[in-house]
């Protein structure tokens, strides 16, 4: 097809013209470091006795509409030590499911979002966020209220808050000095009140001397020449003739003191010789600042030791497993949907909710044609 060929040529030209550049952050709350081959550090086996807790969460919409969203949320964590699963000591539930109802309201010409949450089991209650923290102004959240994208983002708030809260509990009840907690994703906050939960989790980590880290499956960071940061660093490996099987590129950037939304040292890591890509990796800045480079690389080594599973080489096994258990699958949604729909029907509300669902569903129906 001619158009495809032409687009491919444009893409090729664009890529070849771009220089690698240096890490770029649009706001001034980061100190970034120019790309330099001296920042590559070889990662060896750690031979460490540390426990590592892996945390991930997932959510899916049961009842969609432009003005409200009912979601099934799930948080999962597991702990490993010496490459073996570590049995939990505290009785804390390893997987927590809860339902959330997010809706938008107009008050004094402002649009607000509120979220009600209900645990699937009562014993999960203590691990869930405060509903008051889930009440927030659309403007402050910087979302386009009334759109499905905006609703999706707000509906995921409860799950994110719960992830931090559970991380805090895991540190408190299961981990000891020198252990590591690794959450799926960045350590950056995404919502107005999220910093409360993040700070609590970080304080608990400081208190117990547990290293708080995050690994992002995807990274949208770029360089100042608008090349993908991960891609730039990987190309630098080739250009600099770096022969390390496993490496840590450190530092990429560190957040500044005033940055309340993100408190981390950012680096890029390749955790296995056979990894198809490198990942963005972060350590809670206040901890990283007290650590020597050697200590930082040892933390990376510990995580690299868990990144040998052939299912996803170079990605920590604990996060593969956490993703599996935290993911809300379509087939389980059906059960919840049926129960909720029949309950709404029993209460005589189905005739009012059904048209709203149809508005959203039309997209899916067209996609299925």
């Amino acid at each position: 097809m001619k158009s495809i060929k032409e687009i491919a040529e444009i893409l090729s030209l664009d890529l070849s013209e771009r220089e690698l550049g240096d890490p770029y952050f649009s706001d001034s709350d980061y100190q970034s470091y120019p790309l330099n081959k001296k920042n590559f550090h070889q990662i060896n086996s750690a031979n460490s006795n540390r426990k590592i807790a892996f945390v991930d969460g997932g959510n899916q919409e049961i009842l969609p509409s432009p003005i409200y969203s009912v979601q099934l949320n799930r948080i999962y964590f597991s702990i490993f030590k010496n490459n073996k699963r570590f049995l939990l000591q505290s009785g804390i539930p390893q997987r927590i499911d809860f339902l959330s109802y997010t809706s938008s309201k107009l008050e004094d010409k402002n649009i607000f979002f509120e979220t009600k949450i209900r645990p699937v089991k009562d014993k999960f209650n203590e691990f869930l966020p405060d509903e008051r923290d889930l009440y927030t102004k659309a403007r402050e959240e910087n979302v386009d209220a009334g759109t499905q994208a905006g609703m999706d983002r707000m509906a995921s708030m409860a799950r994110r808050f719960a992830e931090w809260k559970i991380a805090e509990k895991v540190i408190d009840l299961e981990l000891e000095s020198g252990d590591i907690i690794l959450r799926d994703g960045s350590l950056q906050t995404g919502h107005q009140n999220e910093y409360k939960y993040v700070e609590k989790a970080f304080r608990k980590a400081m208190e117990k001397d547990v290293i708080f880290t995050g690994l992002s499956k995807t990274c949208r960071l770029t360089t100042d020449t608008q090349v993908s940061l991960i891609d730039s660093i990987q190309r630098l490996v080739e250009d600099s003739n770096i022969k390390y099987d496993k490496w840590c590129y450190y530092p990429v950037a560190r957040s500044k003191e005033k940055n309340r939304e993100h408190n981390a040292v950012i680096m890029v890591v390749k955790l296995n010789k056979h990894a198809h890509t490198a990942f963005r990796f972060e350590i809670f800045k206040e901890q990283a600042d007290t650590m020597s480079e050697k200590e930082i690389f040892e933390i990376v080594s510990c995580i690299a030791d868990y990144s040998r599973d052939i299912k996803v080489p170079g990605y920590p096994y604990g996060l593969i497993e956490a993703d599996l258990w935290a993911r809300v699958k379509n087939e389980e949604m059906e059960g919840y949907k049926t129960k909720l729909y029949s309950e709404l029907s029993r209460m005589g509300l189905w005739s009012r909710t059904n048209p709203l669902i149809k508005i959203i569903n039309t997209h899916e129906k067209l996609d299925g044609q």
Binding site: N83, Y306, I310, K311
Partner: protein, 550 residues
Amino acid sequence: MNKRGQIIGGGLKDIIIREKTGENLELGELLIVESASKAANKNIRDYSILQIKDIEYRSQAPQSTHELLSGMELEGYNPDLGFMEPELTNYVLGRAKSLLHVQENNNENEKDKKPGYITKSPKRLPDFFSPIRSIEKSDLKFLEPENIENSIYLGDLRSGSTTKEDVKVYIDLIKSLTHHILIPATTGRGKSNLVRVMLWSILDSEGAGILVLDPHNEYYGDNVRKGLRNHPKKDEKLEYYSPDSNNESAQTLAINIKKIRPNHFSGIGGFSSAQKEAMRMFYNKYGENWIKEVAKGKDKQTLKMLGINETTADVLKRKIETKLGICSISDIYYPDGKCTYKSNLFIGGDSGLSTINDIIEALENGKIVIIDSSKLSDFEELFVGSIISSNIFNRYKRYNSVDLKSKPVISIVIEEAPRVLGKDALESHGGNNIYGTIAREGRKFKIGLIAITQLSSVIPRPILANMNTKIILGNEMSLERSAIIDSASQDLSDDNRIIASLDKGEAIVSSVFTRFAIPIYTPEFEKFVDEYIQKMPKEPEIEGETELIG
């Protein structure tokens, strides 16, 4: 509880079990799943017996990943990759069949009573996600016979390749023998050993007389090999006949030809209808001397009077000569001809007149009679069996029901059964023989067969189906396995591979008298006898007489 695995899906015929790592489930293994729903009632134990029918590898990782990893390792790439928690990623699934549902009632209010068992064909599934464990002796108490004296020991329960020596498997003596037993197997799978163990057990029982036609002379035993002669009850319950007059252990098997009747040849020896007709004409005319007269030969005139074709008479004479070894010579002293007997088996004069009767009496007295047929031809062996069987059949047939009830069941052990029960044997030369008759109607008169064969497929289906107990040993031939499976008392349609993989001594007992097809291992006869004798109570030693002095 030693958890071997967990039920994760399937149906009654195909319950899927995830094996616990390292538990190594085996084909044919018996497993127990307890019912949680009944656990509330502590007096009732409710469980199902499952049997593994197939085992396969499974993995959470795609096959291509395995192939890649294997390639890296094989080609020496030192991949630094593998499976974290391999026991969760790669595992084994077993497919099992639900064999039996058991309810054990231990009601405390009935302390004096033994636990009661209700066994049912499985009609519902065990609880989803239930753990499974190995079978134990206590799970099989319902198999224990009420009266061991009226049972035949077949072997020990087998679960996969593990023999449960503490769980003995018996079948009811009277029922199983009258309803016939089939022992199908290829050579070297332990048929003779099984029969020897069974016969040994029958010597301990009451109520059965067994005629054993022993073409390899392997059941009685000798100075080198153990046999039934080593049984403590051999003097009262065992008789041994051999045509070999040098065999000192045996009574001489000699049958006076006066005891032979035309019907004894029925379906045996390949006689045509005309020849059989001629036999009857001779018998009608000459009575018990009819064979002698056939051997002497008759002139045309006499044959015409008898209504027998001259050629038919010639062929009959020749066949009698070759098959029974009887011929006639005429000389000046015996112008009418004198019979000579080539073998010691079929004789004239006054000898051997009581042999058949003696054997029948022994059988009627509940003894085992072994006939060493190792030196007999095929025909001679089957013919001797036919004479004895016909006589006993006719005798039992004449008993009224009250008398018959008090008589022991009689069973005839016949090796290479298709010789007399095969389609060819039953369909050619006009037909049925006494063995076929017994297979079809012997049950009514308490007479049965223990038929041993390598080729079940040549036995007609109705007869195969009439063999209500089948002790199935290993068989490599697919056609044979199909014939056995199709006529088994239990649904063995999934057992094809299990039967093919049976090792020497391993068998499956499929019977209308067992609640499920029971896997067994029959111990080696010599070892079995040694242990039996060791366990026997020792007779107290008689102290030397005290001599009184003074």
